[in-house]
């Protein structure tokens, strides 16, 4: 059962990596603005122009 020591050690390291990742994101300002990216993702780089599609009909 001494494998438990190894497993616990591994899980601790993994968990600490995630905690560190969260700290890094926080420090980097990734959580400062939680709203704008949700809008930004909906903006295409070059959306089709409405007028064009109207002309096609």
């Amino acid at each position: 059962m001494s494998i438990i020591y190894f497993l616990i050690g591994c899980s601790m390291v993994l968990a600490l990596i995630f905690l560190g990742a969260f700290f890094w994101a926080q420090k980097n300002g990734q959580n400062d603005d939680l709203y704008t990216p949700s809008v930004r993702i909906l903006l295409d780089d070059e959306p089709e122009k409405k007028e064009k599609s109207d002309d096609d009909h």
Partner: protein, 797 residues
């Protein structure tokens, strides 16, 4: 057959306004004004017309006259505004009130295509800020602001923003603390399970290993995450105040020490999971309590609406001077739509000063040469030159801020319930703990210590500490949905304790700019068109009101037009002479204005008197609800106006509860007087003239029609539309307080149940580990459900 007169409404392609009269066309698109068209042509030249495909009519109306940004050429001012600058790059953050849709985000992040020297721009939608990085060799800050202004996104640059930026970095790492506490709590829970479920005799070595690991996880929780409680408990003890942080700090310490002792001495598993869980839940409670409205500011004062700099004329030359450096005797130049920053004497030009920020009255006041113009007015019309007679900080308006009400700290407010309760709680808790220790001492010292620590652990007021934040945070979001924005959760409790309400008149119970206009006299349809056409030539607020009154009239050709400032207009329209203006102007100087209750506009067509318009101030819809609460509360009216409307208002306010011709200082003193008589006073006001009273009162509410507009410093901001819900807000705040009381009783029940185990000295870690999260979950669910039900009952949801 009748012809249906439904016209296809033409809407401005840019801002979506109705283009009633005279629209401008370009590229087969209709624009309401030149400003909108210009923005469109800039965007189309840069290939940014996608702006219009994300949302229909995303722009804002561009009719307002553009401001000058000359002061942005002054290095000392620029230095204060920018975030960072080196030889090549400058980074700056602007607050742009106009950011409102996805098109705004898209356009502002494409600034690079308008001017390649702007490398990068990023929008923060909720804060309405844009962060811009540009090459300072190719473009100056002034040019960047002009680019923004040209595309219709004028940044709001004010002195207070400069100050706010510096003071905004008070970060107590709450999120980081929660992350650490949650991390440790999760691990400790897992490592504690074997102990609770039972470890076989062969695997005893694990027990020790898990115990030591738990202790290691407790260390960061106690030393880092819970440090705030120790600091707060210690400072409160030094100030001889007992607050809830003291029993919390004691509880955390005892939990940790007993855990450490048990693990080191191999006597038991300790309470590591309870300790970590307690801190984790407490921090969550703190986080919930902290709600921020990014787009609102509760701390504004005169600086946020004064300009950053003023044009000073020295030796025939104009120069931008920061506001703080303005000295007595300097000649300043104020252009159209600029604000007069200091008390000054008018030297040159025609002063037409709009004091709506100060008094709420939007009709401009005429000023003649040599007259003193008080700070805070906005010049409308031509540019004027003034000589400063008092420095900015000593001016009539700003002097209010030197009053003691503004220098005093904001902690004058009433003690909250949890503060009061925790005082007794701490004393009783320590009493029981000591009592059980003394009870067991003669029998068994070890059991005595164990009982003493168990009492402190089990009675640690976790649920009590959480009941107020969770209830008040839920209440806050319900107020928020009803357009009532509170500064923090403590304001809900203050609202419940108010017994006296003081209201300002102009702008608070009357709508600023919204007036009722009635016509006295007979006017034919053709004459209507004549009057409308004459008034449409004038920019005077009263003429605009007449035009609004007869919306969409046919406009007749104007042959000649002449406006005598302060008196009226004479126009030749369709070969008819139309005179519109004051009574004195129309009917000669012998007539005195006999009716002071309303403003009058008289009409004469072809020398025949046709009657007059009377313009009365319009009351907000919620005024009836104020009458409803006047039985339960003392309601006063303080107005800066003369008592014209005493009669009308006596329907709402009790006689003797109305006071007119009150200066800002009088208002402040009146609130003070009420407070010294033991009343808890709520002040509702809107303008800078109420700022002193708002600050002095126990609860200051700024009322506004547009929450992004200027509102003076206050505890809460109320949207004008929600004034009618005021009685419900009062009732709901009391309900919220009752929820806190009830949850306090629930948490006491848990404490009593736990204490019965604890005093016997036989508290098992498992009971503590179950009881603590259970009571927390009960409190959280009870408070949120009860607050929701209360809101439903008060029709706020």
């Amino acid at each position: 057959m009748k012809q249906t007169n439904i016209q296809q409404q033409t809407r401005c392609y840019h801002c979506g306004n109705d283009c009633e009269e005279g629209h401008i066309e370009q590229d087969a698109k209709v624009f309401c004004c030149n400003g909108c068209r210009e923005v469109y042509s800039i965007l189309s030249q840069s290939g940014l017309c996608n702006y219009y495909t994300y949302n229909a009519h995303p722009g804002a109306e561009q009719k307002k006259e553009s401001k000058r940004f000359d002061y942005l050429k002054e290095p000392s001012i620029v230095k204060d505004l920018i975030d960072y600058s080196d030889e090549k790059f400058t980074i700056v953050t602007f607050y742009i009130p106009n950011i409102h849709c996805s098109s705004c985000i898209w356009l502002l992040e494409q600034l690079n295509r308008i001017n390649p020297a702007i490398y990068y721009s990023r929008v923060d939608f909720l804060r309405k800020q844009v962060n811009i990085r540009f090459n300072n060799k190719q473009i100056t800050l002034h040019d960047v602001v002009e680019v923004l202004e040209r595309i219709g996104y004028e940044p709001l640059i004010s002195l207070q923003d400069v100050i706010r930026k510096q003071g905004s970095d008070k970060n107590d790492n709450l999120v980081k603390k929660i992350a650490v506490a949650g991390f440790c709590f999760g691990n400790v829970m897992l490592l504690s399970f074997p102990e609770y479920l039972g470890i076989s005799v062969q695997e005893q070595s694990f027990r020790e290993f898990f115990g030591w690991l738990n202790l290691v996880f407790c260390l960061p929780v106690v030393l880092y995450c819970a440090s705030g409680y120790f600091v707060s408990a210690w400072t409160n003890l030094k100030n001889k105040v007992l607050n809830i942080d003291l029993p919390l700090a004691i509880g955390i310490t005892v939990l940790f020490l007993r855990t450490a002792a048990e693990i080191i001495m191999h006597t038991g598993p300790g309470f590591a999971d309870t300790c970590c869980g307690l801190v984790f839940f407490l921090l969550i409670g703190k986080f919930v309590q902290r709600k921020t409205y990014y787009h609102l500011s509760f701390e504004r004062d005169y600086r946020s609406f004064f300009p950053v700099a003023v044009q000073v004329i020295e030796e025939e030359k104009e120069r931008s001077v920061p506001l703080a450096d303005i000295q007595v005797g300097q000649r300043i130049l104020i252009r159209n739509n600029e604000i007069i920053p200091a008390d000054a004497i008018l030297l040159k030009g025609e002063g037409k000063v709009d004091f709506s920020f100060v008094t709420g009255e939007s009709v401009p006041v005429e000023k003649v040469l040599g007259e003193v113009v008080y700070a805070g007015g906005r010049q409308t019309g031509e540019a004027i030159e003034l000589e400063v007679v008092k420095p900015v900080s000593q001016s009539y308006l700003t002097r209010l801020w030197n009053n003691e009400a503004f220098t005093r700290l904001q902690d004058n407010h009433m003690q909250t319930f949890s503060e009061k309760a925790s005082k007794y709680f701490t004393i009783v808790l320590l009493g029981i703990a000591l009592g059980s220790f003394l009870f067991w001492l003669p029998v068994d010292l070890h059991r005595g210590i164990s009982a003493f620590t168990a009492v402190l652990i089990i009675a640690c007021p976790c649920a009590l500490a959480l009941s107020t934040p969770f209830t008040m945070a839920a209440a806050l979001s319900i107020f928020d949905k009803n357009l009532f924005y509170l500064k923090n959760t403590a304001v809900v409790e203050q609202l419940a304790h108010i017994d006296t309400i003081v209201l300002d008149k102009t702008g608070t119970i009357t709508v600023a700019g919204g007036n009722t206009i009635t016509l006295h006299g007979e006017v034919s349809d053709y004459e209507k068109e004549l009057i409308y056409s004459a008034c449409s030539n004038s920019a005077h607020p009263l003429s605009r009101l007449v035009c609004q009154f007869w919306n969409h009239q046919h406009k007749l050709g104007t042959n000649s037009y002449y406006e005598i400032p302060g008196r009226g207009i004479t126009a030749d329209i369709d070969r008819n002479i139309v005179d519109i203006g004051s009574e004195r102007f129309i009917r000669g100087s012998s007539f005195q204005n006999i009716n002071p209750e309303s403003t009058e506009v008289h009409i004469r067509i072809n020398n025949i008197y046709k009657g007059y318009f009377s313009i009365k101030q319009h009351y907000r819809e919620g005024i009836k609800s104020i009458k409803d609460i006047s039985s339960a509360y003392k309601v006063f009216l303080l107005s800066g106006d003369h008592g014209h409307e005493r009669e009308t208002l006596s329907a709402v306010f009790k006689p003797g509860h109305m006071f007119f011709e009150q200066s800002p200082q009088d208002k402040l003193d009146f609130i003070k007087m009420l407070q010294s008589n033991g009343h808890r006073v709520m002040m509702i006001g809107d303008g800078l003239n109420d700022a002193g009273a708002l600050k002095q009162s126990d609860l200051g509410i700024a009322i506004t029609d547009n929450v992004n507009n200027f509102s003076p410093g206050s505890d809460a901001i109320l949207d004008g539309k929600a004034l009618s819900r005021l009685p419900n807000f009062f009732k709901f705040s009391k309900d919220a307080l009752n929820v806190v009381y009830a949850s306090f009783i629930i948490s006491l029940c848990y404490n009593v149940a736990g204490l019965s185990y604890a005093v016997s000295g036989r508290l098992s870690p498992l009971i503590a580990a179950i009881l603590m999260p259970l009571s927390t979950v009960t409190i959280i669910s009870f408070t949120s459900i009860a607050t929701h039900l209360a809101a439903k009952k008060r029709k706020l949801l």
